[in-house]
Homo-oligomer: 418 residues x 2
């Protein structure tokens, strides 16, 4: 039987527009992947009466109520108190949670005494399932009452995502009749609307497995989701669709069930025992930052240069002054020289360089915002890609960095470098 | 008399998590600025029954219902049909809108004939105020019925924002019986629960202005919000509270209504005509990345080094091998030498360095995950801060970078460097 979930976010900061309800997006994706329907999102402020009203409404139309926010000491644990009351449950002191909170606090602030209000967070609905929070202080809570499963998660997106992935998904898996399996193809180099146009008829015709496209920052995802009695049977439904899509999109598919381009690059480098370095101008450290976001990056990453001032491109990376004078910092020859300079100075096998105009204004030579040259230097030579990006400084920087990783993963996988 | 608005977003893509409800954030900010209370956000899919249910609920608790999405031909103008029905209004053909749609379509697709369903968009509730859409095809709609003001806007964020700013704000201005003003104090170096414990009694006692704490990644915010007849009067209510909080928290307050620490550092550098450079190990480029996220960073940023491999600390930054051998890469002397090396190599006035263990594993010398040394080199000398962070690699890196900016802004503002 299929389940219906309603998301209730608690936080006046959402109603004031201080933040967007990104938890709802993350949770909606996760619940859909479990085959659970989400029919409503509701957002209320830090207000007991209005939260109670939202919960009473949700009880009439959902068998899973998932709340985010309102668990911290700063709001008197509003959500826990109201939800417990709505379902006629008492709050009781939960010693293990108190100890976890103490330990967590001590480890975070060895120098600071823990304040009384932190202990409030250990008051939990009687007989509930405690969802241990390894990413913050407020424990999550789950209980079943009046035929409804109630799940409460902390609001900060980082905590909420980790709690959902590691605590809620296992807790809800048992609910879904049959097994839902999914695989996600990651694509770089094609826009979502172009991808969707090529697949629309196919997607509309499919029922099991289903195909869902997602637009990411400069990338696309295709999620294939199948439902069957066993995981093996579900995956068997997915395999042919996956093979067909890979054949259709070819090298645009950079991975399946991989988190991002940089992870593919790191795995490729490790497999071949190669090292990476960076020489960044317009991305200002973003390429190095994204690569070192990966645990274990040190196995392959030598280091990087951020040659933001033109002079530094010469003094640190050894880019010839003549090149800079003749072509300007934002040019194919300088991108090439930066990447080759990084290989030399850092002593790495591969080097990614970026130089371009991230905006807000064109550069002194009149190069337009969004013009970026990305180079990859290798033992077999150097390749340079020129792109014209749009839609704002952060997006230009992000996609320019992605192009660097795309060049590297194409080189490492023996694909055409273009 | 004060007004209460409810936002209803229509779109299955929101319930699937394909996109976040950023319209709600934008509209909430705009409505608060008009002194209109927003008590609920609701999201429903492209489903007439559930949209009708959401509207019926909203009618009982709001006197302004603002919908986003569901106006285009792709969803059969769901929102307009349901809202008109809920308030007993017929849809009638609106000739001027039809002409605008034709013109817009012709100029967008000179080659394509306009399809019948585009004309549907010119069917509007009888007697409504038409909100002309200069940014897309679907006109917005506003009408008053059963004591409720109904406003319907298109969903695409770019259209929605332009329509709200240029059509809805003028339409609603007459309603607002006062102005809400707010200021946000940004704090670094104190935890949210500790801050909240110091302020709890004060916060509970306040009504106008109100005081709200927010936890950010490694930081805290204190938002003071006041309501009055004029902005000046509202700010006059805020001023004394702001002064009192600044006095109470002293140098922990790094700014008011500023986006982040790095912006304060950039402004300070520009004011003094100084330049910045970086030498990063565990933050792997994040310090440079965050600083160059700021438009105009090039006015002060020379560049940076990511000396991830220990050897690179020596070859590129000139950290003496003896120091590395004796103390190890994660140490006070090496942090100091990295920052001083960056000043020398990059020719900048100030340099921030980081070296530490971001995890997941302790380093080869057994230094624990979360131990980080952050240094600031200046013409007057070098300061090093040692911190023990927790809660995961990304957070450790982020907060370590923030400590670098905190040292710089303290130096630039003549505050105690500790």
């Amino acid at each position: 039987m299929s389940h219906t979930a309603e998301l209730i976010a608690v936080g006046t900061e959402l109603l004031l527009g201080n933040i967007a309800n990104t938890d709802a997006q993350m949770l909606s994706q996760g619940l859909s992947a479990l085959g659970i329907n989400v029919y409503y999102h509701t957002v209320v402020g830090d207000n007991p009466e209005r939260l109670r009203a939202a919960v009473e409404t949700a009880k009439t139309r959902a068998d899973i109520i998932l709340t985010t926010g309102g668990l911290g000491p700063t709001c008197d644990d509003l959500t826990k108190n109201v939800l417990a009351a709505c379902f006629g449950k008492k709050l009781v002191f939960h010693e293990p949670s108190a100890q976890r909170i103490e330990a967590y606090f001590r480890n975070l602030h060895p120098d600071r005494p823990m304040t009384e209000n932190n202990y409030q967070q250990a008051m939990l609905p009687e007989g509930c399932t405690v969802l241990e929070n390894d990413w913050g202080t407020a424990p999550g809570v789950a209980f079943e009452a009046d035929g409804v499963r109630v799940i409460m998660l902390p609001g900060p997106p980082r905590e909420c995502k980790a709690m959902f992935t590691h605590r809620v998904v296992p807790y809800l898996k048992e609910l879904s009749d049959g097994v839902i399996a999914s695989r996600t193809l990651k694509l770089f180099g094609i826009g979502e609307s172009a991808m969707e146009a090529q697949l629309r008829d196919k997607m509309n015709a499919m029922t099991n497995p289903t195909l869902a496209p997602y637009a990411k920052e400069g990338e696309c995802e295709l999620r294939i989701t199948a439902k069957a009695d066993t995981e093996g049977a579900a995956l068997a439904l997915i395999d042919p669709v996956e093979a067909e899509l890979k054949a259709h999109f070819g090298p645009l598919v950079y991975g399946v069930d991989v988190p991002n381009l940089e992870r593919v690059v790191l795995d490729g480098l490790k497999a071949k025992g190669l090292t990476l370095g960076t020489a960044e101008s317009c991305t200002g450290g973003l390429v190095a930052k994204r690569f070192t976001d990966l645990p274990g990056a040190s196995a392959a990453f030598r280091g990087g240069m951020v040659s933001y001032a033109t002079e530094v491109k010469h003094t640190v990376l050894g880019v010839e002054q003549a090149l800079l004078d003749q072509y300007g910092a934002v040019s194919e020859p300088v991108a090439r020289a930066m990447a080759e300079g990084a290989r030399r100075v850092l002593g790495c096998d591969l080097a990614i360089s970026t130089t371009g105009v991230a905006g807000p204004d064109p550069d002194e030579r009149g190069n337009p915002v969004g013009l970026v040259f990305i180079a990859l230097a290798t033992p077999e030579g150097t390749w340079v890609r020129q792109v014209h990006l749009s839609m704002g400084r952060q997006r230009i920087r992000h996609i320019a960095a992605s192009h660097g990783f795309d060049l590297a993963r194409r080189y490492l996988n023996g694909l055409e470098l273009k």
